[in-house]
């Protein structure tokens, strides 16, 4: 058969219709993808003549010119060309097989189809369809057809199948089949062209642009997007005719059709499953009504977005009406292409979706027969699945509705897909049985089994507990073990009898002031034994304590006192707090000897308040949470059962009393006979102090906020805290990386993740971290007598895996917000799943159940922000940042540093010692996965996140991206080092010597890290207090006594870069200019106990003769370094001329019988290589001077120019006096001369060599030139930089890392 031109009269073929173009571009994105294969299998029941079938098929295909094309990309764009189709048996793409002799003919056929379906068509060659006919039984046949979606849609399939059956039946009856009912492809092309040239096109475009002008977020069930996959997952169910009938009845009752009921149901499901009232579904439309396309088997269908608002208050009837009207509005503009809407809205470039899940209703009549043999049709593939598509088939064959949930395997597992389908069908069933005029709130999306699971089974926590108080068990313990150590603070140890005795006297004193059950007493004491005594005393008197953290701003504390109106304020010294209304009880000097040391009488019940802790309110005004004894008693009884403490345990009290974690730290050990170890005030922020205390005090149990745990784990001594038996985390999300780091640093020590708001007595969930687990760390299961609810917007329970808001119920709930009944009523609401009259607390936290009953924390429900009208989930950006290599933590916020100037700023912390991530690279990386408006304008790399006094991330303290820094240059190497350390700690590119650490966003935690770094780098003992007194690099340098006076102090022959430490010292020899400050960047990367001494040229400070030979200079230096270290083994390093000097010194030391265990050279080359080069003059000397400071010389002509550059670039060398600068120039010239005259002898050993590997003019320089002068190996490392850049970050960091590793080997 020769094909007539397929509606494509010209030799150049026909253009594609807009519908085809969409498919063509989708295929062009992934040419080898079979995703655009569509396929159906028609099962024929009865007698069939395969030859006649083939004839009928061939004739039908011959009538269908839209099918018979191939599509080629031409310079004018893709065009379709008619394709010649051979008869059956002569090349017609038809496979026939009789499978009756196979064991399982259907399985064999299905396997063949599956294989075939995975085979992509070649658009350019065609044909774009393929058939098969399998005989699978005496009277059963399977007709398989696969067609590329670009030439046929679902309606077209039905047309083809009907015509094949018709022709077959006619042939079987010996009749002619009658004329072809089909229209031509040319009509489709013409109709499409006419539409696109007409008025309607513009009107339709305006309609869609208006409707989606705000570019709404489209929630999806997976909660994320993915690139199209080549395959899809499918879950199939059938809705029986009875359910279908009920749905039709319901549809009639709400004046809709059954597909509209299904669409409304899916909208409700998506809204609840995503927690979004706004839903956009995609509706595939056949697009043929009123069109010639009704008679053309081709590709016409379109997908249109349907925007719906689903609230719990609306009824199902109202929702369905919204669907009806929405579809009606869409249908009026249905010819406008889905692809064009996305393009118009600018969604294409951002790879944003226009719609969420698709609901594809295909009511295409398949009630056909082959000469009396009836058939049933089954879809095998309905085309590409971007996210999730619900295909609903009504074949009109009496078989009910078939429902396929097709999912993108990159987004859904088979299990998730099945769960979505099961719930959808269950919801449909319940909706069909319910009153359509009842609020949608009555419907949840969980199935009955899932409801039982999440409400009952996961919350099976009932446990009988005695009616006791927080303090009662402490008093009972004191009677049991009066002599056991109860409290240790520094050198002070108090036994249980001593501790309770002192607390009892104070309690009796408080009682005289009116403290009794129900009364509040403020306690404003720094962490100390007295603080513990004060808390015990308040409780013993029957009162509730209100902790006031002396580190908090006074205004805030005063506000709390005014709000809580305590009976009195307990404090250590007078004047700690401004005068407020209540009387102050000053413990310092208070004589309590008149009071008995036995427990005072009081009428305390478990319902009385035990403590009042203030938490920050979203409105900015702190609110006091009143926690009753029964609540905290339940919490502590659970904790003791879960993690039994014994008399041998020692619990570290380091959490500030204003943070409720401190409650268990204070009282749990005292209730159980263990020992409370009280940390120093402020100690909770100092990782080195904590590690030392944990070891020295044999602490077995302690708590960290996750961000502080990360800091602690970076402390070298953390690994030595092996006496720990359990560590608890809570307060913020515990990153898996932190848990993994913990398992590495402290293997064998259990790490427990706890979760709970202050409003529910510290913690309500628990999870034991296990090494080897991945994914987010769950917050875990509910504690005793506690129920967790993950609820949707209608307060219906979310099934496992579906995010919702976390609600808490049970005896651990707080009584109220103090004096805030309105606020209390909005956060503590009636528990719909508890006994009548019980309450639940609304956390504002987003969470979901795992399949096995643990809860995962997903963030805050209020983290969503809007920036310039765009809805942004900061968590999404944070997750993207955190996924970058070397990033250990990420935070994103919207800053408004200047009024009206809102912008996204990202903050990351980096893994050490990996090179810090480059902010620009991070932004590029984000831009690859996030829409432009979600890519932060700036990303700052921080050493640590700033923490609030309670140890939570303090967003308010994150630095603004452009800190204004001063421009005075450092005068000394100490200043330069300090300025660099400041900048590192603050995550800024540079810091001026007069810039205040705290002014630039420094926090006390950052300060702790900075102090540690300074200690490591300069070897000087420094406290945080010193930093507070001297917060600038210049002031701190002065304070350290290292930088007083002029720079001259740092110009001696011996420069103690880090004078102290127990390792073998490293001597670094100066480069050409004679100054060794350039090596200070090494310090931060070498072991803190590694001393480093510089050797510098003579003549920098005083007039003295310059050495006459390199040998003489080296001998001088050898003598100098022997003053520091009389005998070997020696460690030497030098850059440039310094490397040549190091070699010479090493040879001299060896000749003197000493051992040299390290000789490291940074881009230094032996004399031989320089001998023939001209001796440099002043101009070369100036070049060398710039190089010492790390710059290439460009247009500096004079000494003044050079000084200007040094000052501008903030080099410490800028502080040199005129005299010294002159000396430097002389020294450079002299050194160049000496080096050319020198003759090397052989160094016996290996050399660690660093080559500046970037291309350079002196391409003849090679480390191989050292071979004659080194007996051992030359271990060369290439550093990707030029010679002058070698002592600059990040190149020096790389060198330092290699060097540190080598030094560590040498240290053994």
């Amino acid at each position: 058969m020769t094909a007539a031109p397929a509606g494509t009269a010209t030799a150049g073929g026909a253009p594609l219709t807009a519908a085809q173009s969409g498919m063509w571009y989708a295929q062009a994105l992934d040419p080898d993808s079979p995703a655009q294969n569509t396929a159906e299998c028609v099962e024929i029941h009865g007698t069939l003549d395969p030859a006649r079938f083939a004839e009928a098929l061939h004739r039908t295909v011959g009538e269908t010119d839209a099918l018979r094309v191939r599509i080629e990309d031409t310079p004018a764009g893709p065009r379709q060309f008619a394709l010649e189709i051979e008869p059956s048996g002569h090349g017609f793409p038809m496979h026939a097989a009789d499978l009756r002799d196979q064991g399982d003919p259907d399985a064999v056929a299905r396997a063949w189809m599956r294989d075939d379906l995975a085979d992509p068509f070649d658009l350019a060659t065609g044909p774009l369809f393929r058939h098969a006919l399998f005989r699978v039984g005496e009277r059963r046949w399977l007709w398989y057809q696969r067609v590329h979606h670009i030439v046929l849609d679902g309606f077209g399939y039905a047309l083809v199948a009907r015509r094949v059956a018709e022709v077959y039946s006619a042939l079987a009856a010996g009749e002619e089949a009658g004329p072809s009912p089909f229209g031509r492809l040319a009509e489709l092309v013409a109709e499409d062209a006419a539409y696109r040239a007409g008025e309607a096109y513009e009107k339709d475009r305006a309609h869609w642009s208006d409707t989606f002008a705000d570019r709404p977020d489209v929630p999806t069930l997976a909660g994320r997007g993915a690139l199209p996959s080549r395959t899809f997952l499918r879950r199939t169910s059938t809705l029986g005719t009875d359910v279908r009938d009920r749905i039709e009845t319901l549809a009639g009752a709400v004046r809709a059709t059954w597909p509209e009921v299904l669409i409304a149901t899916q909208a409700l499901y998506v809204a609840r499953a995503t927690g979004s009232a706004e839903v956009v579904l995609g509706l595939p439309m056949m697009g043929r009504l009123g069109s010639a396309a009704l008679r053309i088997p081709g590709m016409v269908m379109n997908v249109l977005p349907l925007r719906l608002t689903v609230t719990p208050q609306a009824t199902f009837a109202e929702l369905t009406r919204q669907v009806v009207l929405g579809i009606r509005a869409a249908r009026r503009h249905q010819r406008y292409r889905y692809e064009d809407i996305r393009r118009d809205l600018g969604l294409l470039g951002e790879r944003r979706a226009l719609t969420g899940p698709l609901v594809n209703v295909m009511p295409f009549d398949y009630a056909l027969d082959f000469a009396g043999a009836p058939c049933t049709a089954h879809n095998l593939s309905a085309g590409p699945v971007d996210d999730l598509t619900v295909n609903i088939y009504d074949r009109g064959d009496g078989g009910g509705l078939r429902i396929d949930h097709d999912g993108n395997p990159a987004l859904y597992t088979a299990r998730e897909l099945a769960a979505h389908q099961d719930r959808f069908l269950d919801l449909l069933d319940r909706i069909a049985a319910a009153d359509p005029h009842a609020p949608l709130a009555v419907h949840g999306i969980a199935t009955a089994a899932e409801r039982h699971l999440v409400l009952t089974e996961f919350n099976d926590t009932a446990r009988a507990v005695p009616a006791t108080t927080l303090i009662g068990p402490v008093e009972a313990q004191a009677i049991r073990t009066p002599d056991a150590p109860a409290l240790v603070h520094g050198d002070l140890t108090l036994s249980y009898a001593q501790l309770t005795g002192r607390a009892n006297r104070l309690a009796r004193h408080l009682a005289t002031l009116g403290v009794r059950p129900g009364a509040v007493v403020a306690v404003a004491l720094p962490r100390s034994a007295d603080l513990v005594i004060a808390l015990l005393a308040v409780l013993k008197a029957g009162g509730a304590y209100l902790p006031l953290d002396p580190d908090h701003p006074a205004d805030r504390l005063v506000g709390m006192v005014e709000d809580a109106a305590p009976v009195c304020v307990l404090t250590d010294v007078a004047g700690r707090l401004p005068e407020t209304g209540p009387p102050t009880v000053v413990l310092d000097g208070l004589d309590l000897s008149a009071h008995l040391d036995i427990t005072p009488p009081r009428a305390l019940t478990p319902r009385h308040p035990a403590y009042v802790i203030y938490t920050s309110g979203s409105t900015g005004r702190p609110k006091g949470v009143v926690v009753p004894h029964a609540a905290i008693d339940n919490r502590l009884r659970w904790m003791q059962a879960a993690y039994p403490l014994t008399a041998g345990d020692r619990v570290l009290q380091k959490t500030p009393a204003g943070f409720d974690v401190s409650v268990w730290e204070f009282f749990w050990p005292l209730r159980e006979g263990a020992t409370l170890v009280v940390a120093e005030p402020g100690g909770h922020k100092d990782p080195a102090y904590l590690a030392r205390t944990i070891r020295e005090q044999a602490v077995t149990t302690c708590h960290f906020v996750p961000s502080m745990l990360q800091v602690f784990l970076a402390e070298p001594d953390a690994a030595r805290c092996t006496g720990l038996r359990r560590v608890f985390c809570s307060g913020e999300a515990l990153a898996r990386e932190t848990a993994q780091d913990f398992a590495r640093v402290l293997p064998g020590v259990p790490l427990h993740n706890l979760y709970g708001p202050t409003e529910a007595a510290v913690d309500v969930t628990y999870h034991a971290c296990r090494p080897g687990e991945d994914g987010p760390v769950p917050i875990g299961r509910p504690v005793w007598n506690t129920r967790l609810y993950v609820l949707d917007a209608a307060l219906q329970p979310c099934p496992p895996g579906i995010p919702g808001e976390l609600y808490l119920a049970g005896p651990q709930l707080a009584t109220a917000y103090l004096g805030r009944p309105g606020l209390t009523a909005t956060r503590f609401v009636a528990d719909p799943y508890g006994a009548p009259g019980t309450r639940m607390y609304r956390t504002g936290d987003l969470a979901r159940w795992t399949a096995d009953g643990e809860v995962e924390y997903l963030g805050r429900t209020d983290h969503q922000v809007k920036l310039r009208g765009l809805r942004i989930e900061l968590g999404e950006i944070e997750a993207a940042l955190a996924a970058a290599p070397a990033v250990t933590g990420a935070c994103v916020l919207v800053r408004e540093d200047r009024p009206g100037d809102q912008r996204l700023v990202g903050y990351v912390t980096a893994a050490h010692p990996a090179p810090a991530p480059d902010p620009e690279e991070l932004r590029t990386r984000l831009a690859a996965t996030l829409p432009d408006y979600m890519v932060p304008g700036a990303v700052l790399v921080l050493d640590d996140f700033p923490l609030s006094p309670n140890g939570k991330l303090d967003r308010g303290a994150l630095p603004a991206p452009t800190a204004v820094t001063g421009d005075r240059a450092p005068r000394t190497h100490q200043e330069e080092t300090l300025a660099r350390l400041f900048a590192d700690a603050l995550g800024l590119p540079s810091v001026g010597v007069d810039d205040g650490f705290f002014d630039l966003g420094g926090t006390s935690l950052l300060a702790a890290r900075l102090v540690a770094r300074v200690r490591d780098a300069l070897g000087t003992d420094l406290t945080i207090g010193t930093l507070f007194q001297a917060p600038t690099p210049a002031a701190l340098a002065t304070k350290l006594g290292a930088g007083t006076g002029s720079a001259d102090d740092a110009l001696g022959v011996l420069l103690p870069l880090r004078p102290h430490g127990d390792r073998t010292p490293l001597f670094v020899l100066h480069p050409a200019g004679g100054i060794s400050w350039c090596y200070s960047g090494l310090l931060a990367h070498l072991d803190a106990h590694q001393p480093v001494h510089g050797l510098q040229a003579r003549g920098l400070v005083h007039d003295e003769p310059l050495p006459a030979t390199l040998e003489e200079m080296a001998a001088d230096y050898a003598g100098q370094l022997r003053r520091v270290q009389p005998h070997g083994p020696y460690r030497l390093l030098g850059w440039s001329v310094g490397g040549v000097l190091a070699h010479t010194v090493a040879v001299l030391l060896q000749e003197a019988g000493e051992r040299v265990e390290l000789l490291a050279m940074l881009d230094a080359y032996p004399s031989d290589q320089w001998r023939d080069q001209a001796v440099p003059g002043e101009t070369d000397a100036l070049t060398a001077l710039l190089r010492m400071a790390g710059f290439d010389r460009t247009d500096e002509l004079t000494r003044e120019d050079v000084l200007g550059t040094l000052q501008r670039e903030g080099s410490a060398l800028a502080g040199l006096s005129e005299r010294t600068l002159s000396a430097v120039v002389d020294i450079v010239v002299n050194n160049a001369r000496l080096m050319r005259a020198h003759h090397h002898r052989v160094f016996d050993g290996e050399v660690l060599f660093f080559t500046a590997a970037a291309p350079r003019a002196e391409d003849w320089l090679t480390h191989e030139a050292w071979t004659p002068y080194v007996s051992g190996a030359l271990r060369a490392h290439e550093i990707d930089c030029l010679h002058p850049q070698m002592t600059q970050a990040p190149h020096l960091d790389t060198i330092a890392a290699v060097l540190a590793a080598r030094l560590k080997e040498l240290d053994g």
Binding site: T257, W258, L289, I327, R331, R332
Partner: protein, 76 residues
């Protein structure tokens, strides 16, 4: 009972959930919410109530009341 123009309009209006008076005879019913499901329900109804045999494609090709009246041989 023979199908009349008024009956066509009444049936169409009912399936669209609209008032018959709001459905003009010569307008494209797609703009009023007509879809394939509703066409098929009309085919079923007219077959059942009036013994009229017509096909989906016939009705869908020109979706307007006057066009249908002509197609189904109903007097205007």
């Amino acid at each position: 009972m023979a199908l009349t123009l008024q009956q066509i309009r009444a049936d169409v209006a009912e399936t669209l959930g609209e008032d018959p008076a709001d459905i003009p005879d010569d307008e494209n019913l797609v703009d009023y919410g007509l879809d394939s499901i509703r066409i098929m329900s009309l085919i079923g109804r007219w077959r059942r109530d009036h013994g009229i045999e017509t096909t989906f494609v016939d009705l869908a090709e020109r979706p307007a009341i006057d066009a249908w009246a002509a197609l189904l041989g109903v007097a205007p």
